[in-house]
């Protein structure tokens, strides 16, 4: 009886794991084969001349260039807001906050990490509703609002990775500096932070990947199907993830369908690439200080 149980458990573990690998492999193959027809000179710019498209002199209708630029602008703006706040919070939590306050703030950060992205988008949408009823009757959703909500969404990633990177540093680093007459702040600034730099950078990459993939937030806060290149903070914009969503819901022909698969593959490469580099940075940090 015991033997049988062992065998069933073993078979289950093997089965689950092989299914996982098989499933992921299938996903990749499907994305590549179904997306391949769309890959070509027209993928980025459609029928528009590349030069005109890049400079924004002519609108792009069938290409993904505007969406790509939209995602880039969104990610950059969101990071501009989130990185300083997130890293600063992480440093405070890891190095400065007294024990009890740290526990309290930790709970807040945990809960922020748990907020579903559609709720974050709803928050942004509500902000606009409120502005319309009070200060600014003409307020609308746009790039700035999406960036703000995405910044809130990725904040916990930055905080946690910064915290983890600093926590991973050996005790000796914390003692040597002050032993040589550094103040706590000098030690933090000149010893600890540079030592944890790679881990913090890894957190930024994680945040970038998360910001690029999200769809629910931006569909409530200003992403549209056909906005052209991002034109300003208050303007509507296109994004890769939102484009995939619209293509899924209302593609018109085989070419658009293939483009959906190609977009999905591109987004997958982007986010997984960023995740992998974040992981490698974290690992190299750990290895350096554990040796």
């Amino acid at each position: 009886m015991r033997r049988l149980g062992d065998r069933v458990g073993m078979a289950w573990a093997w089965g689950s794991s092989l299914c996982l690998l098989l499933g992921l492999g299938t996903l990749l193959v499907v994305l590549v084969t179904r997306g391949a027809p769309a890959v070509g000179p027209g993928l980025l710019f459609g029928d528009t001349a590349p030069g005109d498209a890049v400079l924004g002199r002519a609108p792009v209708f069938d290409g993904i260039w505007p969406a790509l630029m939209g995602t880039l602008a969104l990610v950059a703006l969101a990071c501009l807001v989130a990185v300083p706040i997130g890293v600063a919070s992480g440093i405070y939590l890891a190095e400065i906050a007294p024990r009890r306050r740290r526990a309290l703030l930790d709970i807040g950060v945990d809960m922020l990490a748990g907020v579903p992205s559609v709720v974050m988008g709803l928050f942004g949408f509500g902000l606009i509703l409120l502005m319309r009823r009070t200060l600014a009757p003409s307020a609308t959703t746009g790039l700035w609002l999406s960036a703000l909500c995405i910044a809130l969404l990725v904040l916990p990633y930055l905080i946690r990775t910064t915290q983890t990177a600093l926590d991973a540093l050996p005790e000796s680093l914390r003692l040597v500096g002050p032993g040589l007459g550094f103040t706590r702040w000098q030690n933090l600034r000149h010893v600890l932070l540079p030592a944890a730099g790679r881990g913090i950078l890894g957190g930024v990459m994680l945040a970038v990947g998360r910001a690029a993939e999200d769809t629910a937030v931006i569909m409530l806060t200003g992403a549209v199907w056909n906005a052209g290149l991002p034109a300003g903070l208050g303007e509507k914009f296109e994004a890769l993830s939102f484009r995939i969503y619209v293509l899924a819901a209302e593609y018109r022909d085989d070419m658009q369908l293939a483009q959906g698969f190609a977009c999905a593959f591109a987004l997958l490469l982007l986010t997984c690439g960023l995740l992998a580099s974040a992981h490698l940075l974290q690992r190299s940090l750990e290895r350096r200080w554990k040796a």
Binding site: G9, M10, W14, Y92, L104, G114, A216, I244
Partner: protein, 296 residues
């Protein structure tokens, strides 16, 4: 500044800035909560009939209860599908499988946390939905079955990583004890580690459930979005998350908005409860892994 304090004015300012940033980050969720509660206020005054079973916005019926049921059903089904598989994978990675293959599987699970939910949603809407439609004949393919299957894949890495982190934290000691008693590694996982890890499994289940409940794109593209309680696994339905997205996108009149803010508030409260529960259960074990696989 007094020399005995050992801090210059600049240092104090810097510390204050850091503390300010941390306060903003930690208080953000509270701000969102209060904000949503205020905007959802009309829903509680009864005029909008939000907590009813009838969603017909053009007739003044704004009931979201079908969506509440839809969300719960979907998240629970996805969790039930994912949990056994996730435990199998975690066990494989933790000793049942050969070491090299186990590392590959674990790396694949890590990579899965980076796969955007829109990618899953897109691929399944194009391939799985027609497949379900053809195989089962009944219905359009946009169904609880399709959505739950895909959602279970989405939450799989969350569960695997939390369980894995939990087992990891239980330590080498246990493994050595088992080895000293002559229990083979595979059997130790099945007979010792697994029965001892009720807390870890519960934490993983709670986090997986929260992740499933909060996802939007899979439900939006695969559920069919009919505002009804599904009668079978092949029926269409609508989740709270998809409901929010749909109402905002279709620009309905203001009266409908109270219902989506109420929906958002419910989602937020459940998510907050889940993270508090997971925190209490996990007591900090494997926090980084959990954060990496955090709900989105």
């Amino acid at each position: 500044m007094s020399p005995t304090s050992g801090r210059t004015r600049g240092e104090r300012t810097a510390e204050l800035l850091l503390a300010g940033a941390a306060a903003v980050s930690a208080a953000a969720v509270l701000g969102i909560l209060v904000f949503l509660a205020i905007l959802a206020a009309p829903a509680w005054q009864g005029a909008a009939h939000v907590f009813t079973w009838d969603w017909r916005p053009f007739h003044g019926h704004y009931g979201i209860l079908p969506m509440v049921v839809g969300s719960l059903l979907l998240a629970l089904t996805a969790l039930l599908l994912a949990l056994p598989v996730a435990i199998g994978i975690a066990a494989f990675a933790h000793g049942l499988g050969p070491r090299r293959l186990a590392r590959i599987v674990l790396a694949a699970v890590h990579a899965m946390t980076g796969i955007p939910t829109i990618v899953y949603a897109f691929v399944s809407a194009m391939l799985l939905v027609p497949f379900v439609r053809e195989v089962f004949v009944h219905g359009s393919g946009y169904s609880l079955l399709s959505a739950a299957l895909v959602l279970s894949v989405l939450i799989l890495p969350t569960i695997v990583l939390v369980v894995h982190a939990h087992w990891h934290s239980m330590g080498k000691e246990l493994e050595r004890t088992c080895a000293a008693l002559g229990i083979p590694r595979g059997r130790a996982v099945l007979r010792v580690l697994l029965p001892l890890s009720r807390r870890g499994l519960l934490t993983a289940a709670v986090l997986g459930f929260a992740r499933a409940l909060g996802d939007t794109m899979i439900a939006l593209l695969l559920s069919g979005n009919a505002a009804q309680v599904p009668g079978s696994a092949l029926d269409g339905f609508r989740t709270l998350t998809a409901h929010i997205a749909l109402v905002v996108a279709t620009d309905t009149q203001d009266a409908a908005y109270a219902s989506i803010f109420a929906a958002g508030l419910i989602l937020l409260l459940v998510a907050a409860a889940a993270s508090l529960t997971a925190r209490r259960l996990g007591a900090g074990n494997g926090r980084t892994e959990a954060a990496r696989a955090a709900p989105r």
